[in-house]
């Protein structure tokens, strides 16, 4: 049995990480804050039944479901709103192209976006992603495959403009120095 003080402790420790996950899904910090707050509220009601070792995954799953709910009525995210959330010094080239990953992710359908984020931002295995997204491993594979293909399409024009992706060897796909 777990009590509310433990919930507070969990939120204090994990909130930045959870908010960042929601930002990757929604593309907009305000929306992300709403989504996380709703998810935390739902989790608080059942906190006593949430296993401590799986609390992060449990809350992320709640965030994912809130995100899907919110995505039905969400307005498109403007490039300026994305730019506000980027560390411009780190990725000047990508930002200049205005096709930063955060903007491209917003062009994917919500479930594809969530699958891509789960696999390649959270670094979950296909099996773990399937559990968090409430679908089969096959669905995760399909969603990520289609999501990544779509991102490539969206980036293709960008590649032509900036002459390749900064820091990435186009043959091997590995980052350069």
């Amino acid at each position: 049995m777990r009590a509310e003080p433990e919930f507070d402790e969990f939120v204090r420790e994990r909130y930045p990480q959870l908010l960042r996950y929601a930002v990757m899904l929604t593309g907009r910090q305000w929306d992300a804050e709403e989504v996380v707050q709703e998810a935390l509220l739902r989790c608080l009601k059942r906190w006593r039944r949430v296993p401590a070792e799986n609390a992060v995954a449990y809350v992320r799953k709640a965030i994912y479901h809130e995100f899907l709910r919110a995505a039905k009525k969400a307005t498109p995210v403007a490039p300026e709103e994305i730019a506000e959330q980027l560390d411009l010094t780190d990725v000047a080239g990508s930002v200049a192209s205005r096709d930063h990953v955060l903007l491209v992710l917003q062009k994917l359908p919500p479930r594809q976006r969530a699958a891509v984020v789960a696999r390649f931002v959270l670094d979950l295995s296909e099996a773990q992603a399937a559990v968090e997204l409430g679908c089969t491993v096959g669905t995760v594979k399909s969603l990520t495959s289609r999501g990544v293909a779509r991102m490539k399409e969206l980036w293709a024009a960008d590649e032509a403009v900036v002459g390749g992706w900064p820091g990435v060897d186009r043959e091997s796909g590995r980052r350069g120095t």
């Binding site: 939120v11 935390l40 955060l102 390649f120 931002v121």
Partner: protein
């Protein structure tokens, strides 16, 4: 198909996702909101259960006592007197906040002379643009005041601002305010708040300067709503609508250029007590006239046209008002287009246009011949 981990798109995705910077709000604020909303949900469940129990008992009683099901019984609704309103809201237990709010009112030029009692203290259930804590207080002499925190993304409980003060009727079904001119510490253009009498649903904010209710999308909880407003919505062109129970005028912001005036009819015409020459007098429905040198309202359209610019907000077509009731637009207008009077940051509804042969007639929204006992005085330099 499994995606190759070394796929350039995956590599780029991983690299650029690392550049996403998130500035989390204070976790304490987040936790406070989550716990507040949890408490409210619990209270609502208890209230819903209690209400259901009352209804079931009442229905059972009615069935036992009165078996004549053929007759409809209509129970008239009535609001509780404001003196009996209990203190409501998610911050009702914050004694420090209540004390500071009262002190803020007492230190202002609009200070009450007698005892003061808070009837609401709370913040919206969801963070958003209309994000401010509010304390509503009534005084023994019959006025209501609204003290709030600045409106913005985060609620700063350390700063309290007196937003509005107005007389209130004892049986008012709702109270509220619209502060159209923001405080420099606000992050939004204007704010509104409304609170219905206990057991009533939150009022809808309706403006005669708009074609739609502003109620949708606002935060509603415990009979209260919070809203962000922007021009042309203001206290002098809006009402807090309670359906069958009627509507009440919201209080205007302390920084807004308006005040309430009494209207009376004399042999010379309509007079607004306390108004000065050049003031525009309006009701929430629309403009009545401009105070002339003798204190009597000049209700002719030309006088209104001299006070401000007549505009069709639908397409921003400006027009000229004539004393024979015409609106002569400098562009294309359509039947039933709304015409408003604009001066500086003040917008007052005038009416709508109706075709009259080759001309456009202005159908006034507020009839000076049927003016109510009180109105708004708009005093601009």
């Amino acid at each position: 198909m499994t995606v190759d981990e070394q796929d350039p798109a995956v590599v780029r995705l991983r690299r650029e996702s690392g550049s996403v910077v998130v500035a989390p709000p204070r976790v304490d604020t987040v936790l406070r909101r989550v716990h507040e909303r949890r408490r409210e949900q619990r209270q609502h469940r208890i209230q819903a259960f209690a209400a259901l129990s009352v209804v079931l008992i009442a229905v059972a009683g009615a069935l036992l006592v009165n078996r004549d099901w053929g007759q409809d019984v209509v129970t008239p609704l009535a609001a509780a007197p404001i003196a009996e309103w209990p203190l409501r809201g998610s911050l009702a237990g914050d004694r420090d906040l209540l004390a500071r709010a009262e002190e803020t009112w007492r230190q202002s030029p609009h200070r009450p002379s007698g005892a003061v009692r808070a009837v609401f203290a709370g913040s919206p259930p969801y963070s958003g643009t209309a994000n401010f804590a509010v304390v509503a207080m009534v005084s023994a002499e019959g006025s209501v005041a609204f003290v709030t925190t600045p409106a913005g993304r985060q609620i700063d409980m350390s700063t309290l601002l007196l937003r509005a003060v107005a007389p209130v009727e004892a049986g008012a079904p709702a109270i509220g305010f619209i502060a159209a001119r923001p405080d420099p510490r606000d992050e939004v253009a204007g704010i509104a708040f409304g609170l219905a009498a206990p057991t009533l649903s939150a009022p809808n904010l309706v403006s005669s300067a708009l074609d739609y209710s502003l109620g949708d999308g606002n935060h509603h909880v415990d009979g209260a709503f919070w809203a962000q407003v922007a021009q042309p919505v203001a206290a002098w062109n809006s009402r807090l609508d309670l359906g069958a129970l009627g509507a009440v005028d919201p209080a205007a912001g302390t920084a807004d250029p308006v005040s309430r005036v009494g209207l009376r009819r004399t042999d010379q015409g309509l007079v607004a007590d306390g108004a000065s020459e050049g003031d525009l007098i309006a009701t929430r429905d629309g403009a009545l006239g401009v105070v002339g040198p003798s204190g009597v309202l000049d209700t002719d359209l030309s006088a209104l046209g001299e006070w401000g610019t007549a505009v069709v907000p639908y397409n921003n077509v400006v027009g000229t008002l004539t004393d024979d009731g015409e609106f002569r637009p400098d562009g294309i207008v359509y039947p039933d287009n709304r015409v408003v009077l604009v001066r500086e940051d003040v917008t007052v509804t005038l009416g709508t246009v109706a075709p009259d042969g080759a001309a456009w007639r202005l159908v006034r929204a507020a009839d000076p011949a049927a003016a109510p006992a009180t109105g708004w005085r708009v005093g601009l330099p």
